[in-house]
């Protein structure tokens, strides 16, 4: 422990104490349960329900509970809305997770190098971050998608490529703060190299805000993916919550349910992730509770 130079408080917070604090936060627990439920629904729902989300099962625009119509009604092609809602988050969740992982990784590398080395490394990386922050993310991602062609892979790639600046700024700020602390100096005094200090001394202590930022980033990436699918710029062969809304939006005056339920699914997914993020924040940093 002393060798890695990790401050004792940080270990406490990220260990058992943190988990207990998380569990004491009711909103966070509700978020965890809802999110787990949504993941399970997407994993097993389509198989258990057994209806193909692409198949025509009843008269188009059958309302929920109308005669023999399926539970959540049918869309403009007579496809079962419930079948779409059950599995429509698969792409969204995977693309959101991959994109968020990319965005956090890029941000972590750029932010830690800038914060640790300072001077010209810092100004170079910060100018790059400013450049990426200047370009409106959705427009930028749309341009990247036209250049790369639409598929789930390119959607994840373009979201990751445009959304890393926030993570980079946060990481840089944490590194700037921590690198001046006593235990970093101690670590250097016993002869630790740059990489070791960055990865084993500073990074563990910068984790709490980064984990909270990760929760926010995953939420944003999911909304981002949904927006791209809504515009019809994603992979058109897969049914996703966003694309269901996009394809049915022309018929909302006749059939509100085709758009309402997929939207609730997206909303609950992002809400549950944010609630967990809040819980993590409280667990790590009780002083900031409720802010």
């Amino acid at each position: 422990m002393t060798e890695t130079g990790v401050a004792p408080e940080a270990v406490e917070a990220s260990g058992r104490g943190g988990w207990a604090m998380f569990l004491r936060n009711k909103a966070a627990v509700v978020g965890l349960i809802v999110f787990t439920g949504i993941v399970l629904m997407n994993l097993f729902g389509p198989t258990l329900y057994g209806v193909d989300s692409d198949a025509m099962v009843a008269r188009p625009f059958s309302g929920p509970g109308e005669g023999t119509a399926p539970l959540l009604g049918t869309d403009y092609l007579g496809r079962d809305v419930l079948a779409g809602v059950l599995g429509g988050g698969r792409t969204t969740l995977v693309v959101g997770a991959v994109a968020a992982a990319m965005s956090i990784s890029i941000g972590l590398v750029i932010g830690s190098l800038a914060g640790f080395y300072g001077r010209w490394v810092d100004s170079m990386f910060m100018r790059l971050t400013e450049l990426f922050q200047t370009l409106p993310t959705l427009l930028f991602a749309m341009v990247l998608l036209t250049l790369m062609g639409p598929s789930s892979r390119t959607v994840a790639l373009s979201i990751g490529l445009v959304s890393w600046p926030a993570a980079a700024r946060l990481t840089r700020a944490e590194f700037l703060k921590i690198r001046e602390l006593e235990y970093v100096k101690a670590s250097r005094a016993i002869g630790a190299g740059d990489l070791r200090i960055m990865l084993r001394t500073i990074l563990p202590n910068a984790m709490p805000p980064l984990i909270v930022a990760t929760a926010l980033t995953v939420g944003l990436a999911i909304l981002f993916e949904a927006g791209i699918s809504f515009l019809g710029l994603g992979d058109n062969r897969v049914v996703s919550w966003g694309s269901m809304i996009g394809k049915n939006q022309g018929f909302i005056l006749e059939a509100w349910w085709t758009v309402t339920f997929p939207g609730i699914a997206i909303f609950l997914t992002v809400l549950s992730i944010s609630m967990m993020g809040d819980g993590i924040q409280d667990a790590f940093n009780p002083k900031l509770r409720g802010r």
């Binding site: 200047t134 370009l135 409106p136 005056l253 509100w256 758009v259 992002v270 944010s274």
Partner: protein, 327 residues
């Protein structure tokens, strides 16, 4: 005053550098795009007649070395020559100019709405942090953040247009409209309500939370304790001493959010048929109109840079401690 002017001058130079970087990045994107650069610039499909492509090649100097091409591209863009839209068969700059005002109007209204209400809610709840209203605002900000903006837009259409028939279904003005200037402004404002509200809700969630946290921080600080100890009355402590300092992070973030506002505008404008740059971008991408898309990226980035500059000026005026060179 002199340092203020110098500080702003320095920021102007930085802003110009940033704009150049945006243009260079665009150039790189066009270069690495698969396929013929002339075709990319001309629009991916159609209009591929040899004469037209030759004209494009000549204008962008595609037969020249890459560095010459880059300088030519930057030079063209700085003179507001963003190329030719393949679909509309018109200069990209003209198309964007026509839509610029409506997008700035929409984004500006949304931002003003979100900031005003957000700060009021934040300050109001920060005074009683454990009250139910305060927790309510925290929860509402989570809800606002999690709402997919395009879905909110459609739901508002269902409720306020389809069911209640209170607002127009879309567009920026009534096409059959006849009347004077004042009546015209009222008509546009009427069309603006739902789109601006939709776009503003996400940021309202954000600002109320930010203002609340910032206000809580400031209220705990030493100088507020001092002010209270001196016997300054509570209203004056909150509104004169604390609010001014609590606004600084809100203004800073607002400047950074302008780009995000554009992204939201693409979705909101698409749903409400608002004739702005966002909808133009959506149409451009559907029609694979690459020059228009690239032009929109440059112009929106330029607008973000201008917005950031304005924020910086406001920031310097609120916070007199900021001096050029200082952190």
């Amino acid at each position: 005053m002199l340092t203020l002017a110098r500080g702003i001058g320095l920021r102007l130079v930085q802003a110009f550098g940033l704009l150049l970087a945006v243009i260079v990045l665009n150039f790189i994107l066009i270069q690495i795009a698969p396929g013929d650069v002339a075709l990319t610039l001309a629009g991916e499909q159609g209009s591929g007649s040899p004469e037209f492509l030759a004209a494009v090649r000549a204008r962008f100097g595609l037969d020249q070395p890459l560095l010459v091409q880059l300088f030519r591209y930057v030079w063209n863009v700085l003179q507001f020559d963003l190329g030719h839209s393949y679909y509309w068969e018109r200069p990209v700059m003209d198309l964007i100019q026509e839509k610029l005002f409506s997008t700035v109007l929409l984004a500006g209204t949304a931002l003003a709405f979100a900031m005003t209400i957000g700060v009021i809610l934040g300050v109001f709840t920060a005074r009683r942090p454990e009250s139910p209203a305060s927790h309510g605002v925290t929860f509402l900000s989570l809800v606002g953040y999690a709402l997919p903006v395009f879905w909110t837009a459609i739901m508002l259409l269902v409720v306020f247009v389809a069911k209640l028939d209170l607002f127009p279904i879309g567009g920026m003005e009534d096409p059959r409209f006849e009347g004077g200037t004042i009546a015209h402004i009222v008509d546009v404002a009427y069309h603006l309500v739902l789109p601006a509200f939709t776009l503003g809700v996400i940021y309202l969630a954000y600002y109320s939370r930010l203002a609340r946290a910032s206000m809580l921080d400031v209220l705990e600080s030493d100088y507020i304790r001092t002010a209270r100890a001196k016997g300054v009355d509570e209203r004056s402590v909150v509104y004169r001493h604390a609010l001014r300092n609590a606004l600084i992070p809100v203004v800073t973030i607002a400047g950074l959010q302008f780009g995000a506002l554009f992204s939201g505008a693409v979705l909101v404008e698409t749903v409400f048929s608002w004739p702005g740059m966002g909808r133009l971008a959506y149409e451009a991408i559907i029609r694979q109109d690459t020059p228009l898309m690239m032009g929109l990226l440059i112009v929106s980035a330029a607008l973000v840079i201008v917005a950031n500059l304005l924020t910086d000026v406001v920031y310097r005026m609120i916070d007199p401690r900021i001096r050029v060179g200082g952190k």
